[in-house]
Amino acid sequence: MVLIFGGAYQGKLEFAQDNFDIKDSDIFRCSEDADLDYTKKVFVNFHQFILGCVKRGVEAKDVLADNREFLNDKIFIVDDISQGVVPMDKELRAWREMVGRTMLYLSKESDSVYRVFCGIGQQIK
């Protein structure tokens, strides 16, 4: 299991494609309203899945923990949304916090963790 995070538009998927064996058909683009497809290997925009969890009142890391056995070969790509102003909107505030909790779970469970900054990846675990 691999976690790759960083700010928006930093080249996280490109970094993953350069460093791991990924086919286009391996990529699952997460959205607010779709369930995860565990037959795919790479979950891109995972923060969008988490926003969907907020809207449905589900804890994203519980969803992951319940499906832990399917996650060993997965690469999670998540936008780090933790460094701006606290959002005025209640839902966005809850999103920001749930992304944080989920990233803590993912970084603990992952064999390796990378942060991508301006296209350059740095391994932090």
């Binding site: 700010g7 949304i81 933790s82 966005l92 505030r93 350059i120």
Partner: protein
């Protein structure tokens, strides 16, 4: 040697960038230029410029003003009227302001091709000078859903940051005065 420096707002990027530029100029015996990129539109901007000028006082910078078409300053003059030497050391603060000037025009129009244009110009600028310190702003980690133009601006700035991080010899993130070297 070209440098790319980014990080959050008010984290000490400019101060660090000033030191890098000054030390490079001293070491190589080159003229030292501050490339002022902000086009002032009101008293708040003018006050900010005065504050920045005071902060740079005594550092040995000659100021060059260029808000758009950045490469043309290499054939221009400093605010004191001296011709600019393209082999000097340039502190370009900031990439963020340049994209703002190129994308959101003073006549109210928006140029969606601004990031592509600037990517070419900044790449050319880095090549021509060889001793530029580029400063940008890391605006990619907040929990907010922006309207289209702001999102396009964020995407465009990230495009420039990635291009500069690729071609620069050194890439640094400044976080509250702490330095992380990526390259």
């Amino acid at each position: 040697m070209n440098y790319f420096i980014s990080g959050g707002c008010k984290n000490g990027k400019s101060y660090y960038a000033q030191q890098v530029a000054r030390d490079t100029a001293r070491e190589k015996g080159l003229p030292l230029y501050y490339l002022a990129t902000m086009i002032p539109t009101d008293e708040e901007d003018r006050a900010r410029i005065r504050r920045h000028l005071a902060e740079r006082d005594g550092w040995g910078f000659e100021t060059v003003e260029q808000g758009t078409d950045i490469c043309s300053c290499l054939e221009g003059t400093t605010v004191d009227g001296n011709p600019v030497n393209p082999s000097g050391v340039f502190l370009l603060d900031s990439v963020t302001a340049l994209l703002q000037n190129e994308m959101f025009k003073t006549d109210g129009t928006i140029d969606l091709g601004a990031a592509d244009k600037l990517e070419k110009e900044l790449t050319e600028f880095a090549k021509k000078t060889g001793n530029t310190v580029f400063v940008s702003d890391y605006i990619y980690s907040d929990a907010f859903i922006y309207e289209d133009f702001t999102e396009e601006y964020r995407r465009g700035l990230a495009q420039l940051d990635k291009a500069l991080a690729k071609i620069c010899d050194q890439v640094v993130e400044v976080a509250y005065g702490f330095i992380s070297e990526y390259k």
